[in-house]
Subunit: 350 residues, 4 copies
Amino acid sequence: MFFTSDNSSPTHPKVLEAVVRANEGYAMPYGVDPIMDEVRAQIRDIFEAPDAAVYLVATGTTANVLSLASYVQPWQTIYCHSASHIQMDECGAPEFYTGGAKLVLLDGDDAKFSAETLKAAIETTPQGFVHSVQRGAVSITNASEAGAIYAPEEVRAISNVAKAHNLPVHMDGARFANALVAAGCTPAEMTWKAGVDVLSFGGTKNGLMGVEAVVLFDPDKAWEFELRRKRGGHLFSKHRYLSAQMQAYLTDGLWLEMAKSANHAATRLSQGITAIPSASLMHPTQANAVFASWPRVGHRQVRDAGSAYYFWPHDCSLDGPDDEFLSARLVCSWSTTDKDVDQFLGLIQT
Amino acid sequence: MFFTSDNSSPTHPKVLEAVVRANEGYAMPYGVDPIMDEVRAQIRDIFEAPDAAVYLVATGTTANVLSLASYVQPWQTIYCHSASHIQMDECGAPEFYTGGAKLVLLDGDDAKFSAETLKAAIETTPQGFVHSVQRGAVSITNASEAGAIYAPEEVRAISNVAKAHNLPVHMDGARFANALVAAGCTPAEMTWKAGVDVLSFGGTKNGLMGVEAVVLFDPDKAWEFELRRKRGGHLFSKHRYLSAQMQAYLTDGLWLEMAKSANHAATRLSQGITAIPSASLMHPTQANAVFASWPRVGHRQVRDAGSAYYFWPHDCSLDGPDDEFLSARLVCSWSTTDKDVDQFLGLIQT
Amino acid sequence: MFFTSDNSSPTHPKVLEAVVRANEGYAMPYGVDPIMDEVRAQIRDIFEAPDAAVYLVATGTTANVLSLASYVQPWQTIYCHSASHIQMDECGAPEFYTGGAKLVLLDGDDAKFSAETLKAAIETTPQGFVHSVQRGAVSITNASEAGAIYAPEEVRAISNVAKAHNLPVHMDGARFANALVAAGCTPAEMTWKAGVDVLSFGGTKNGLMGVEAVVLFDPDKAWEFELRRKRGGHLFSKHRYLSAQMQAYLTDGLWLEMAKSANHAATRLSQGITAIPSASLMHPTQANAVFASWPRVGHRQVRDAGSAYYFWPHDCSLDGPDDEFLSARLVCSWSTTDKDVDQFLGLIQT
Amino acid sequence: MFFTSDNSSPTHPKVLEAVVRANEGYAMPYGVDPIMDEVRAQIRDIFEAPDAAVYLVATGTTANVLSLASYVQPWQTIYCHSASHIQMDECGAPEFYTGGAKLVLLDGDDAKFSAETLKAAIETTPQGFVHSVQRGAVSITNASEAGAIYAPEEVRAISNVAKAHNLPVHMDGARFANALVAAGCTPAEMTWKAGVDVLSFGGTKNGLMGVEAVVLFDPDKAWEFELRRKRGGHLFSKHRYLSAQMQAYLTDGLWLEMAKSANHAATRLSQGITAIPSASLMHPTQANAVFASWPRVGHRQVRDAGSAYYFWPHDCSLDGPDDEFLSARLVCSWSTTDKDVDQFLGLIQT
């Protein structure tokens, strides 16, 4: 009953086995290991993008900010949701890596913004007015911080607005696999076919030890990206261990299988909560996270039984009236079991 | 016969085993995993520094630049050797992380600088003169980029100069273990007892997959360091895998054993080269790297047999007169065998 | 009838005379000219702040961003109004100078925010949570971008909130003189007695050629400020010409006299507009700027007669129905005459 | 006898008159004043560069660093002399504005470097090696910090090396007029015809109050430059006063007349020193600065008579043996008189 985050779950055994396998003998460092050649080919194949530049880094923040910095000048904007990871959870890393770009915060339900909202924000940023920051890039998070997904046609609508203003589009796909299997489309349809220029392709939250790929669908920025990665301290000497994780992830659809498993757990949890009269959802459950509210007494019961998760917002307390409703974020991962879910559901009922 | 770098060698099996062991169940992310508590205690114990702040990152560049940025203002200097890693091999990461500090380059044999050289450089930086950059920090590399070591008394002499000017001292210890076993002193004697304020304590080049510790002997900078680490994208969610590596490294002296093994191989290689009339050393061999020169024909022979290493400087060619001398850097690691060394020696003789 | 901005007005003749006077002979550069000693004494005297550090720069943006950078770390926030100059009109200079701090935008009528709004925003920024940017400084603009003023007790209420969280307070006083004479208090009451730590003390918009003072009521940051000023390219070699302007400004109350004159013109303009049935104010007129709305036909008439001012928001057109209401910003300066005002009023009536 | 720096001299009366003239009535701010149109035309005409983008800033540091930042990426180098202003006298402003570029220091007599020295330095910077900073721009100072000049053919030789490596060339022309009249060539021959891409065209040291132009011979960087200028706080609202200074400077050859006058004074001073047996020159005198050495007793005499200048290096003392030789930098300006020079010469003789 561990729902704090998908990053608290263990690594899939097949991934660990691949790491152990990669430990044989000597290997050239800094991304020229032979496994990386295979990873590059896998990703190009999976994304139907034979020219894409592909790089590995170890954290999601890194994938996001190196991507953005490669596309945004210091005096430009990044249009993103007010609840996005780059705004809320990266301690200003986007500002650091871009040299001071300004995040323009967009609102919208379920941590998603609409094409219309984006259009209004872009048009509010004066064009060619030297006193103002200039229009930069658009960043969307899929799946969103509230567990919702953008369907390919929603991504396309947003990209159309961006392209009409000649702005690049970044997708923070820390939970890309969860979004993808929920949407039921191809990786290409969710990304470059829908106008995405650069993707943070998450692995860590979905069963890896710590690897994210960055996929630059237009390889023109490749060399700049490599320099920014090195300069940021993110180029690994013993890169083969990153390559090996990503290779295992992409082999035989393991990444999709793990995402399906996590989404399945979330759906089960969500349906169970819906069935409890005293509990209710705060956001629709579309990927692997459930946001729900139920009385404090249920929180006490489930925590006493050893469950871990975050109140959402954080600043709630188990102390207080039994019948007060408190909200929670419950994130499932590849390793969440039906038994975990059912036990949890049983304990929050009152 | 793989001598390109110690970062090309595999991870020690005990380290991998620890990683696999750490994969059990769920764990809190971002450095609050229980293994990290043990690592912190181990390092404080080993360094006889009960108050030290200890953090893990994944690359040596990161350890260096987060350390320096925590001690240097953007308008200050970093005094370092002209051949140091922070100057030559980090693509300007120190400038990036410090917000533009200026590296003042010091010369000296074997990639080491003396206390006298440092003193002259500091005194050349005007004090309190607003037009000039201001005196910042001192960074020494131990073992040096040329495979030499600073003995504790040399570190102390340098620190004395720094302290006389109220400047902090950083040690780039990417090969700290190799320097330590060569010097035959304690970790404390090599660092805080000799005036070092912050240490990049390397693991990656000495048998880990990719972990370096930063040891802040004065914990006053701890919170700032944590913010800089996060903002740089270097705070790992699944931190337990870093902790596990470092724990195994420090358990039962594995780190020292591996360093001794690497140094032993380098000594054997160095002695063998000295015994070859047509070959000569370019730097004394004190840690795990050998710098030597021998005729091109020997390079051809050993490369034909599959050996890998870098010319030093890089821009040499196997094409040319047989008897021209070409220099090479040969780095040994924990996994270098006597057989590797002896076979290599046999092949470079002419 | 030139109301585009107070920065379009000429320099007061007494100021130019002082500049000409300062041109006699040789003078030491970079702020050690003897006139600067007098300026420093004048400002300390006027602000009843004998220990204040005082510096001159040439633009308002510079005064703001050097002040903020001296008080805010790159990973911190700056709480400011969403319409503030630092957010809207400085092309990201605060982000550049602070190394990437994040502006947290507060709302409120008349481009002012309340102590309550600030308190809520501060408390929404997590304290000691490494994933989030950290609480930094508060910046208030007096007079505000909408021509309103903060009374000393309003400044105090805001500062109390800031101080309760241990945050420094900056005042953007590009139109400080206008605010001061409107409030009818002393400079000390408006600033340090009300909790302001650092003031951008404007001169350019109020009759100087181009000089702003920065007043650091706590001189602890003085040396850092000097280094930041130099490093930003803002330390003038022929500094005496800046000193001379500021000296004339402060002599015999010229600065207050000019501000009163500007405020008087704005009041006359505002009252005249109020008296026109078809015109109305968008903000109360408290300093030297008037925000008003009237039918397009009146805009056409007054522009045909040579008046200059900005639509507010900018993107309005003289083409369109006669009776559509269009808004304007009308800024008065020391040189605005009653005749200008009355002629303007006559022309916008329909 | 005031030889501390040309920036200690007064402003030329014609310049001040132009400023006073410009004070008539209202003017549009931020560089769209009509005088600026004339200045742009004047500079394009003088430099035979009809497409050049021209901007005004107020300090030499600003002109240099905005120019460099527009041409250099954060991970690139700037090749410059070790004694150059950007290295020694700008408190790290180049690093700040470029986001951390690395200055590569070249040596050479008289604060000049040769094409050969540059070539060697460029080739030492690895090409396409991700661990190293990358080749960026070349910056030459004319006249140099030691009062020497680069003839057009020397500039061309350096530019040829730069162009062969596809690198842009910046000229720090804080004393461009002094160099130009010494070289006896046209502005075009000294700059774009010799391969210079961007020029810091100094005015402040040559009779202005505080104005430098930046001339971008290739206007492609114009908009980026404008944004960087604004973001740096260097866009003046009351820009007309800068325009007026530069207009007067360029009208009827005033700038050349002032430079000739300064150079004449330096020549007279230099010849006088050469004629004194106990005095000697440290650098050839080619522009408006004289570097010379003579016994301490002569320093005492001339200082007692009220002369001001800097010891070079700075850290000398009037206390000590009479006959010890001390060096000095003596900078002449447009306002230095023959009488000043002759009186000085009479007093340093012993």
